[in-house]
């Protein structure tokens, strides 16, 4: 037996050069992304840190970094949440039309058109928001003030330019629509035919079938798609900077001419003239945005990754 054990070492496993090169490239690409992300985080932390002790003069008269960032963060979250409230039902409706209602040819065209929305540069959305959407919203805002003025959201006085946070949110909603639609329609289309047929064979109408099978199956997908759309809306800069007439207040009044600004728009508008500690202050607000966006995206991915537990439970 010892003789066989002393046999020559087995030859090294066969490795194809192509595989080795490709796995190396893929790994390098993955590592690059991690390094870039870490680099951004480190940069933001180091450059933003001096802002913690910055004097009021560097922060537009605010006596502390929290007082400076909080209104911006509030505006960012408000605009993004409003955008999601508008975009999510719309996106899910469009996704359902594409995956379950429209004839195949039409649904493919519709899918392309929605994807095309994602390709429009945000500056163009900004221009569209200022020149097209905002003036047309004025009438609606006046109507809202008159008829729903008792709600804190519509107390007015209605903006005469229409460049309110609600208009900005509408623009954001259009911008976030493609990503939410794309993800939800993929999930909806993956609903097992078996379950859909089970519902139909029981005498479910199309809508009942969707409620019984498509929505339960796609629930986590819908949540994560919304989170990713929220991530997009949180970080959007140009369109908001252009559309929103910001005064930096904290207010739930959605239709007046005094609006909270957003972090990204504030950076874009202030950075040109900023110097010294003012730059650090802006970078610190960028760090806050980075963290918030990161958390939202992380949650979205985590929920998407948890996926469809039904089968395994």
């Amino acid at each position: 037996m010892t003789v066989t054990e002393a046999a020559p070492k087995p030859p090294a496993p066969v490795r194809r050069t192509g595989d080795v090169v490709f796995s190396g490239l893929a790994r390098a690409a993955g590592i690059t992304i991690l390094v870039a992300l870490a680099g951004v985080a480190v940069f933001l932390t180091i450059e933003g840190f001096p802002a913690v002790t910055a004097p009021a003069s560097a922060m537009g008269g605010k006596s502390g970094i929290v007082l400076y960032v909080w209104p911006l963060l509030f505006g960012t979250l408000l605009a993004a949440l409003l955008a999601m409230i508008i975009a999510t039902p719309l996106a899910i409706g469009v996704a359902l039309v594409i995956s379950h209602f429209a004839p195949r040819k039409l649904s493919r065209t519709l899918g392309y058109l929605i994807d095309l929305l994602a390709a429009v540069p945000s500056v163009v959305y900004g221009l569209w928001g200022i020149n097209f959407l905002a003036p047309r919203m004025v009438g609606l805002y006046e109507w809202l003030e008159e008829n729903l003025g008792f709600l804190p959201f519509f107390t007015g006085p209605a903006s005469s330019t229409g460049r309110t946070i609600l208009t900005a949110s509408l623009v954001l909603a259009v911008m976030a629509l493609p990503i939410i639609t794309a993800i939800t329609r993929e999930i909806f289309a993956q609903t097992p035919v078996l379950h859909q047929e089970a519902a139909l064979a029981l005498g479910a109408t199309r809508w009942e079938m969707i409620r019984m099978t498509v929505f339960p199956y796609g629930r986590s997908g819908m949540v994560s798609a919304t989170m990713l759309g929220l991530g997009r809306a949180l970080g959007e800069t140009m369109a908001v900077a252009m559309v929103l007439s910001a005064t930096g207040v904290i207010s739930f009044n959605l239709i007046s001419s005094t609006n909270p600004s957003t972090i990204a728009a504030n950076i874009a508008l202030q950075f040109g003239e900023a110097s010294g500690l003012k730059v650090n202050v802006l970078i610190f607000s960028g760090l806050v945005l980075f963290v918030v966006t990161f958390i939202v995206n992380f949650l979205g991915r985590a929920i998407a990754g948890r996926g469809y537990k039904g089968e395994s439970r």
């Binding site: 089970a198 005498g203 019984m212």
Partner: protein, 259 residues
């Protein structure tokens, strides 16, 4: 509630493709009718046309008549949703709704048909249907567990319970045992025996012994030739089909000499 089905001159199309041609048959009430034949001969397509489930595929349509209880199911004013509520279906692979409990799975069809039902009524429907599907003793203590926690054979019986909970006139079964082991298969076959006193049952099967065991009548489907549509070759009492069929091709198929 069991009704007989009269099919006359039924052609089934997928778009321009004629899949099944010229089927005429009478399916007796309160009996089991088996459909056998090689793969792709259109027996499943035909079965699905009996409750208009084939229409789920875009472009699918039929010519001809299927009359249940004096009503042609393909009349323009007949709602396919109503047809499916009176003609239940069990599929090849068990498909309980994964997000629903056993209890809710049984009631899924009833929840569609009626808006609100008192808890006591729901309980009695669940118990009656699960007993009808020979599943009650196995699951009565875990009705709130998900349907997907059951074994394959139990899941299939759950699907049968779900189908009979709405008290259909006809029960269609599309190879209900082909994904199951022999023990579960035997349980389902016993169940089919019990169910035929209340329901008209049509079952598609690849297993000829199964057709011989469970059915009163058997229809043999075959392709008229490569690329040609499927058709009904012979329909006769099962005992005759398996001992002395009219058509030579039926005998060739049954005796395994099929080419």
């Amino acid at each position: 509630m069991a009704k007989s089905i009269d099919v006359s001159d039924l052609d089934i199309y997928y778009g321009d493709f004629l899949a099944v041609e010229g089927v005429s048959m009478t399916i007796r009430a309160r009996s089991v009718t088996a459909l056998i034949g090689p793969s792709g001969c259109g027996k499943s397509t035909f079965l699905r046309s009996l409750n208009r489930m084939h229409e789920v595929i875009p472009g699918a349509r039929v010519d001809g008549k299927i009359v249940i209880d004096g009503q042609n199911m393909y009349d323009a004013d007949v709602d396919p949703v109503q047809v499916r509520r009176s003609v239940g279906m069990v599929f090849q692979r068990p498909n309980p709704f994964p997000t629903m409990s056993i209890y809710e799975n049984v009631l899924a069809g009833n929840r569609l048909n009626s808006k609100r039902m008192p808890k006591s009524e729901a309980d009695s429907i669940v118990e009656k249907s699960l007993k009808g599907a020979n599943l009650w003793e196995e699951v009565k203590n875990r009705l709130n567990k998900p349907g997907s926690s059951l074994s394959g054979g139990q899941q299939q019986r759950l699907c049968i319970a779900r189908a009979i909970a709405v008290e259909p006139q006809v029960l269609l079964m599309d190879e209900p045992c082909s994904a199951l082991d022999p023990i579960s298969t035997s349980a389902i076959e016993d169940l089919i025996h019990d169910l035929k006193s209340d329901y008209t049952i049509v079952i598609v099967t690849h297993n000829m012994q199964q057709a011989a065991r469970v059915s009163e009548d058997t229809g043999f489907f075959n392709l008229a030739g490569a690329g040609k549509p499927g058709r009904l070759v012979e329909m006769n009492p099962t005992s005759k089909i398996f001992s002395n069929p009219d058509e030579p091709s039926t005998e060739a198929y049954i005796s395994g000499r099929f080419g």
